[in-house]
Symmetry: C2
Subunit: 378 residues, 2 copies
């Protein structure tokens, strides 16, 4: 197959050698000495004040005298006092942490999503704990439990491919822990959603192909359990319908949209008596594989087959011809999702959940742009 040159996962033993560094004798002596974990009690006793005064001084409480405050702050700085956030968490019942459940970190869209969440959270003084469901329902449940036990103050979720039950999220709702679903969402729970209009995007993509003159448009779709795929497909169907094109079930192929799936789908489609003249793939990975397969068969793109993908992954602008796609604001979605969580934490009374829908953008590139061709031909 194409691209098989890149064997991904390493089955070979990669361990080459273990070198023990010369290692200057580490300060074992120093080890004996108890490590200086300075607490407010230490500061208090050394400065002959009470722990509460220290506590207040360190957070600039107005009711502490200027001199006392300065003295305490100076002492703290000098001796490198580090507030124990664990103790504070226990006391305040506040962890300053939000959890994330996603399928796989190492996918371009998800990585950007997380990057956005992390930035927004950090700016607000929050930490972020990331868990991967690996698209498994069981792992998703386990991750939810772990985050719940860790007392995260909110969770951002992009659902695993398999997930059809949502009981594992009820515990958060019962405790008023904000839940924000991103991209792969569900309407089964009354939670915040941050997503794009997948129907519209699927419609736009398909209609674009129709505009380019396609009459037989295939669709590479994902699991219809997940909104992102079912809605994209509905948009595709609606576009066909609007333009009075027949809906041919044999042109709709469902898979997990991996690179291999893309190749398989290509084979299947190219083996049909009546080949499609256009393909709307629900992600870029499968679309790119399909283009590669098409090229290896000598099928001209976009003249014989116009292709559009979804996500605007880096590979989409590397493949030749460059892949038309739907731009999908991953980082923004992350920022907004984190913001929603924090907003709910701030005004706890406002329980109303929102659905935020972001715009997508149709990016027309060579894989579906027949305008030049048209000019040449007629």
């Amino acid at each position: 197959m194409v691209g098989s040159t890149s064997n991904g996962e390493s089955k070979q033993t990669l361990l080459k050698m273990i070198v023990h560094l010369p290692g200057y004798p580490k300060n074992e002596q120093v080890l004996m000495k108890k490590k200086g974990e300075i607490t407010i009690y230490d500061i208090a006793s050394h400065l002959k004040v009470s722990p509460s005064t220290v506590s207040r001084a360190l957070k600039d409480h107005p009711s502490i005298g200027k001199k006392t405050k300065k003295a305490i702050q100076n002492y703290a700085a000098k001796y490198g006092y580090q507030p124990n956030t664990i103790a504070a968490s226990l006391r305040n019942n506040k962890t300053n942490t939000i959890g994330i459940i996603i399928s796989w970190i190492n996918r371009p869209f998800i990585a950007s999503l997380i990057s956005g969440i992390e930035q927004a959270a950090n700016d607000a003084g929050y930490n972020v704990i990331i868990t991967q469901s690996q698209d498994s329902y069981e792992k998703e449940v386990a991750n939810a439990q772990a985050l719940f036990a860790g007392r995260v103050e909110g969770v951002v979720i992009s659902l695993a491919m398999e997930t059809e039950k949502f009981d594992h999220f009820e515990q958060f709702i019962n405790k008023d822990i904000p839940l924000v679903f991103v991209d792969r969402v569900t309407d089964q729970l009354n939670s915040d959603l941050v997503a794009i209009d997948n129907f519209d995007a699927g419609f736009k993509a398909t209609e674009h192909l129709i505009t380019q003159g396609c009459k037989r448009i295939a669709h590479l779709g994902g699991s219809q359990i997940r909104n992102v795929y079912s809605e994209r497909q509905k948009g595709y169907i609606a576009a066909l319908s609007k333009h009075n094109l027949p809906l041919d079930e044999s042109l709709i192929l469902h898979s997990s949209l991996s690179a291999e799936d893309g190749h398989h789908c290509a084979e299947q489609l190219f083996g049909l008596n009546e080949r499609p003249d256009g393909v709307f793939s629900a992600n870029d990975t499968a679309a790119v594989s399909l283009i590669q397969s098409a090229k290896s068969k000598g099928i001209k793109i976009p003249e014989e087959l116009a292709v559009i993908g979804f996500n605007n992954d880096p590979i989409s602008s590397i493949i030749e011809p460059q892949l038309s796609t739907i731009y999908h604001p991953a980082t923004d979605m992350g920022v907004i999702a984190a913001t929603q969580v924090l907003k709910h934490r701030k005004n706890k009374e406002i329980v109303k959940s929102e659905s935020i829908v972001l715009n997508t953008e149709l990016m027309v590139r060579a894989s579906s742009d027949r305008s030049i061709h048209k000019q040449l031909v007629g």
Copy 2:
């Protein structure tokens, strides 16, 4: 002085006695207040045993009677008891969390690295907190502080591009918190390293180009501050030297190796009087851009210009011709790094730090494979 933490004498005693003597008034009140936050105290009083018994039963301590244990575990399960990990952390001085400092999550290599860390950590019951330095020294310092304050039990670091001072890591070393540097490492600190042999990889890559007949090989390098780039470059130089090829400084270009940088470098190289006939780029991003630029100028690859990159990013097998590259076991490095952290946590006495060097793999693809061409020509 430190261990003394002379905090208030047993102030709880009174209350506890009041609680235990008259029965269990306290717990009922707590239950009224909070939404089903069951604690071991609740279980204890309802089951007429002591909190310590509950605590031990819940963690399968051998010294608890079978019946008691069962009863407690059943009750806990029935009422959905959730251990408060914060309290446990405070008590045990153990957070079960490891921190990560990397440049950017949304880069293929880093995302896979994190994926590996996360999996290994989770399997050991650890959580993972991720921070992005965005290649800024200041942010890296801030992230280190945040992780330190959060009492992480270990840190996995891939250094920011800018970082030249390492004081912000001393605090971890002083407290014997394991530090594991990955990929972008430093030998300034006596910490664990997990890396590849960048010199060897650079050497292999360059020698491969020489084998393909290249005589004037350029190098797109990154900041020489970072080992990964300086060593790749040294490997490049060593390979030229071994094969008696002259070292031409004008063929070595340093940049941040972004896509734009790749295009700029291409322009610069193609503008030379004597063009290079081969390029070794220290990452795939720049290499791919360079190939695109070359193609737009009609320069034939690999015949006129053989190219090899580094990392085996997805784009490397999409570009045409497919990009030769150095495979770099990202996920494995993550798994190993996390494992090292956990190993140090387990046997604290073993302070010796290790350097683990993983194998890379030369992946020859069309962008540098002149064998077909050679056959045709000669």
